[in-house]
C-alpha cells in the first residue's frame, strides 16, 4: 500500500482525500515554477531592532557583557517574586529556578528572566525555542513581567532569516512587544493575558 492510499480503517479520511482527488481531476497538477523570492541576506541593524522593539512600547536596555546581571537586576526592581529557567548562565538575586512549577504557582510570581534563540531587527521580534536558558513556554507567559536577554549577535535582519535560524525546532514563540489588544474600538491596549511588560536587555560586545 503506497502512502496516502486507503488505510481501510478511517472512512472520513478516505472520503476527504477522495473528494480532493475528484476536485482536482482534469486539472494540470504539474509543479509550479520557483516560488520563493530570493533570500534578502541583508545585514542586521541592531539600532533598528531597538527602535522597532520600542515601537511596541516594550523597554530596551543596552548593556555590555559584564553588565548583564546588573541590568537584569535593575529591570526587576520592586518585582515580587522572580523565576528563571535552568541554564540562564548568570545569577538573578533571589530568583526561583523553575522545576516544573504548576500554573497557579507561576501565577503567584511576578517576573521571569529568560534568554532568546534569535531576534528580528525589521520587526522588533524576539524568538524563543524554549531550550536551556529560555524555559518551557508557560514560564515566559504567566508572570506579568518578562525580562529577555538578547545578545547583539543573535539579531537577524528579517523574518526569513529568523525562520531559517529556528527551522527544525519543535516549538517556537515569536514575541513582538507586550501582549496587546485592539479589540475595543481598535484602540491598542498593552497587556491582556501575556506579560504586560516586556524588557529586552540587549547585550553588545565592547567595541
Amino acid at each position: 500500500m503506497s502512502p496516502g492510499e486507503s488505510s481501510g480503517t478511517n472512512p472520513a479520511r478516505d472520503a476527504v482525500l477522495a473528494a480532493v482527488r475528484r476536485a482536482l481531476a482534469g486539472t494540470d497538477r504539474a509543479p509550479r515554477a520557483a516560488r520563493h523570492r530570493p533570500a534578502a541576506g541583508r545585514p542586521a541593524d541592531v539600532d533598528l531592532f531597538v527602535e522597532r522593539v520600542r515601537d511596541y512600547r516594550a523597554e530596551v536596555v543596552r548593556c555590555r557583557p559584564d553588565e548583564v546581571a546588573g541590568s537584569v537586576g535593575s529591570a526587576l526592581t520592586g518585582v515580587a517574586g522572580v523565576v528563571v529557567p535552568e541554564g540562564l548562565g548568570f545569577d538573578v538575586d533571589g530568583a526561583l529556578v523553575d522545576d516544573g512549577l504548576g500554573a497557579r504557582e507561576l501565577d503567584a510570581i511576578e517576573g521571569v528572566v529568560t534568554l532568546a534563540a534569535a531576534a528580528v531587527a525589521e520587526t522588533g521580534t524576539i524568538v524563543l525555542t524554549h531550550g536551556p536558558g529560555q524555559g518551557r513556554r508557560a514560564l515566559s507567559l504567566v508572570p506579568d513581567l518578562h525580562v529577555c536577554v538578547v545578545a547583539a549577535e543573535q539579531v537577524l535582519a528579517d523574518v526569513p532569516a529568523a525562520i531559517e535560524a529556528v527551522a527544525g525546532q519543535p516549538v517556537t514563540t515569536w514575541i513582538s512587544g507586550p501582549s496587546a489588544t485592539s479589540d475595543i474600538e481598535l484602540i491598542r491596549v498593552e497587556g491582556v493575558h501575556g506579560p504586560r511588560r516586556l524588557v529586552v536587555v540587549l547585550v553588545e560586545p565592547r567595541s
Partner: protein
C-alpha cells in the same frame, strides 16, 4: 451545518437594516479607516511587497493543486510527533470528534482560542448540547459571547460594539459565568481589557482541555501555527493537559520555510502591524512543555467543493487577514452581520457560496451581488485572490442554478435586453421610443416598480431626444 447564521435575511434587506443604525456606521467608518491607514503604512515600508504577494499566492496554489499529497505528509509528521490525527467530512463530524475527546476527559468546560473554523462548524453550540461549556478567550470573542451576539468581522468580531456597550455587557454578564467585573469598571479600554484578564485568568489556570484552530499547518514538519495578539492563545496552547486543533484542509503549507512569506504578509495585512505580538508554533506533543495529549482534526466541510471550482478555487488561498473587509466600501457601510455568516465582507461573499454551492438558499445566493465589483479587495489581498472575477463567476452560477424554472423579472429583462442589444436596428427602434420619454421632465420624480430603487434618492437621466447614433447618421459625425 455551515458558517451561515440561521434565519438571516438576504443581503439587501439585512444591509438596508444595518444602514439605519447610525452608531454602527460611525463605529465602522472609524474602525475601518484607522486600520486601512495602519495597513498602508506598514505595507509601504516593505520592499518587494508585490513579490511577497505573488510568493504567497504561488505557495497556496501549489498546496491546493497537490492538496492530497500535502495532507498525507502533514498527517504522517503530526503522528510522528505524537499527535492524534482525525478527519472530518463536515461540521457535524468535526463537532462529534471534539466533543468526544472532551467527554472522554470528563470535563464540563473547554477553553477556546479565537478561530474562524470552529465558528464555521458551530462548535460552541454543539458542545453546549453535550453539556460542555466552551469559553471564548479572545477579548472580542468574549464580548460577543457574553453579549449573546454574533461576530461581525474576521479579526475584530466585536467591531460593531463601542466601549460603553462593552462595559455594560461585562458588568451584566461576567458574574454569571465566573469572576465578576469590578464594580467600579469604567469604559476605559485599558480597564475593560484588565477586567477580561482577571475574568479569564482563573479559567486559564484550571483548564484541562483547550480548542484551537491554526493559521498554518506545515506539512514537512507537522508544525501548527497560531498567530495572535493577546496571549490568550499562548495560554490555551500551553497550560491545559489536552489540546484539540481544528484545521481546515486548506491551511496546509508545504514547508517550514514557506512561513517566512506568510509571517510577513499576515500581520501587515491584518492588524497593520510589522508583527503581531505573539506567534506560536508547535509540533505534536512537546515532552515536558505544554499539553501532553494533542489532537488535530482535519476538516473538509465544503472545501473540496470549492476546490473543484476552477475559478473559485483561489479563494482557498485565504489566510483570514480581513484586509478585504477593511477596504470594502460596502462592508464599511453595512458591517458584517448583513452577510449572515461568520465570513463577512468580500471574502465571505465568495467563500460562503463556494463552500455551499449556488442555489443552496436565497441568503447565500444574494452574497455574490453584495459588491460593486470595485476591486479594492483584490488590490489589498495579500494572496492575490481575484475576488471581483470570482463574484462575477458566482453570479453566473447563481443565475444558471435558477434557469429552467419560471423566469423572474430580472431574467425576463435580461433576455429582452439581449434581444435588443443583439442588433443595432433594434437599438435604434428602442431609442426612438425612449426619445418620447425624453420629452417628459423626470427630474425629482420618484417612480414605482423597478425604477423605485433608483429614483428614491436619485434623479433619472433624461433619455436623449437625439441619440448619438441618430446624430451620426444625420451628420456623419460633423454636426
Amino acid at each position: 451545518m455551515s458558517g451561515t447564521f440561521v434565519g438571516m435575511p438576504a443581503f439587501p434587506e439585512a444591509a438596508a437594516e444595518a444602514l439605519r443604525n447610525a452608531q454602527l456606521r460611525t463605529n465602522l467608518a472609524h474602525a475601518t479607516g484607522t486600520i486601512r491607514a495602519k495597513r498602508l503604512a506598514v505595507v509601504g515600508e516593505v520592499e518587494g511587497w508585490e513579490d511577497l504577494r505573488r510568493a504567497g499566492a504561488a505557495i497556496k496554489d501549489e498546496v491546493l493543486l497537490h492538496l492530497d499529497e500535502h495532507l498525507v505528509e502533514l498527517e504522517r509528521n503530526l503522528q510522528a510527533a505524537g499527535a492524534t490525527v482525525h478527519w472530518a467530512r463536515d461540521a457535524a463530524e468535526a463537532c462529534r470528534i471534539v466533543s468526544g475527546i472532551a467527554r472522554s476527559h470528563r470535563v464540563e468546560e473547554v477553553l477556546k482560542i479565537k478561530s474562524m473554523v470552529t465558528q464555521e462548524i458551530g462548535l460552541n453550540e454543539a458542545l453546549a448540547a453535550d453539556g460542555i461549556a466552551a469559553w471564548e478567550t479572545d477579548l472580542a470573542e468574549l464580548i460577543v459571547q457574553l453579549g449573546d451576539d454574533l461576530p461581525s468581522h474576521i479579526l475584530v468580531p466585536a467591531i460593531h460594539r463601542n466601549r460603553a456597550e462593552i462595559r455594560e455587557i461585562f458588568l451584566r454578564e461576567m458574574g454569571g459565568v465566573g469572576r465578576p467585573a469590578p464594580a467600579d469598571l469604567t469604559d476605559d479600554p485599558a480597564r475593560l481589557a484588565e477586567a477580561a484578564r482577571l475574568h479569564l485568568r482563573e479559567k486559564f489556570l484550571r483548564a484541562k482541555v483547550a480548542v484551537s484552530g491554526a493559521n498554518f499547518a506545515v506539512a514537512d514538519s507537522g508544525a501548527l501555527v497560531v498567530v495572535e495578539s493577546e496571549g490568550n492563545g499562548r495560554m490555551c496552547l500551553t497550560l491545559p493537559e489536552v489540546l484539540i486543533s481544528v484545521v481546515g484542509i486548506e491551511k496546509v503549507v508545504p514547508t517550514w520555510s514557506d512561513l517566512e512569506v506568510f509571517l510577513q504578509l499576515l500581520p501587515r495585512s491584518s492588524t497593520g502591524e510589522r508583527m503581531n505580538p505573539y506567534t506560536s508554533t508547535w509540533t505534536g506533543v512537546v515532552p515536558g512543555d505544554g499539553p501532553q495529549e494533542v489532537h488535530v482534526v482535519l476538516l473538509d466541510n465544503g472545501r473540496t467543493r470549492a476546490l473543484a471550482d476552477e475559478v473559485g478555487r483561489q479563494a482557498l488561498r485565504c489566510i483570514r487577514c480581513s484586509a478585504c473587509l477593511n477596504v470594502c466600501p460596502v462592508y464599511e457601510r453595512t458591517g458584517g452581520h448583513a452577510y449572515g455568516s461568520v465570513y463577512p465582507g468580500p471574502i465571505g461573499a465568495i467563500l460562503n457560496p463556494l463552500l455551499q454551492g449556488p442555489g443552496h438558499d436565497e441568503q447565500t445566493d444574494s452574497l455574490p451581488y453584495a459588491s460593486t465589483l470595485c476591486g479594492a479587495c483584490f488590490e489589498a489581498c495579500p494572496v492575490l485572490i481575484d475576488i471581483p472575477s470570482i463574484l462575477v463567476d458566482l453570479r453566473a452560477q447563481v443565475v444558471d442554478a435558477r434557469r429552467g424554472g419560471v423566469p423572474g423579472g430580472e431574467a425576463l429583462a435580461m433576455k429582452a435586453a439581449a434581444r435588443t442589444l443583439g442588433s443595432a436596428r433594434k437599438v435604434r427602434r428602442a431609442e426612438r421610443i425612449a426619445g418620447l420619454v425624453g420629452r417628459l421632465d423626470l427630474r425629482g420624480r420618484r417612480l414605482p416598480g423597478p425604477g423605485k430603487g433608483w429614483t428614491r434618492e436619485r434623479d433619472l437621466p433624461q433619455p436623449a431626444r437625439e441619440p448619438f447614433r441618430a446624430w451620426w447618421k444625420r451628420t456623419g459625425g460633423r454636426g
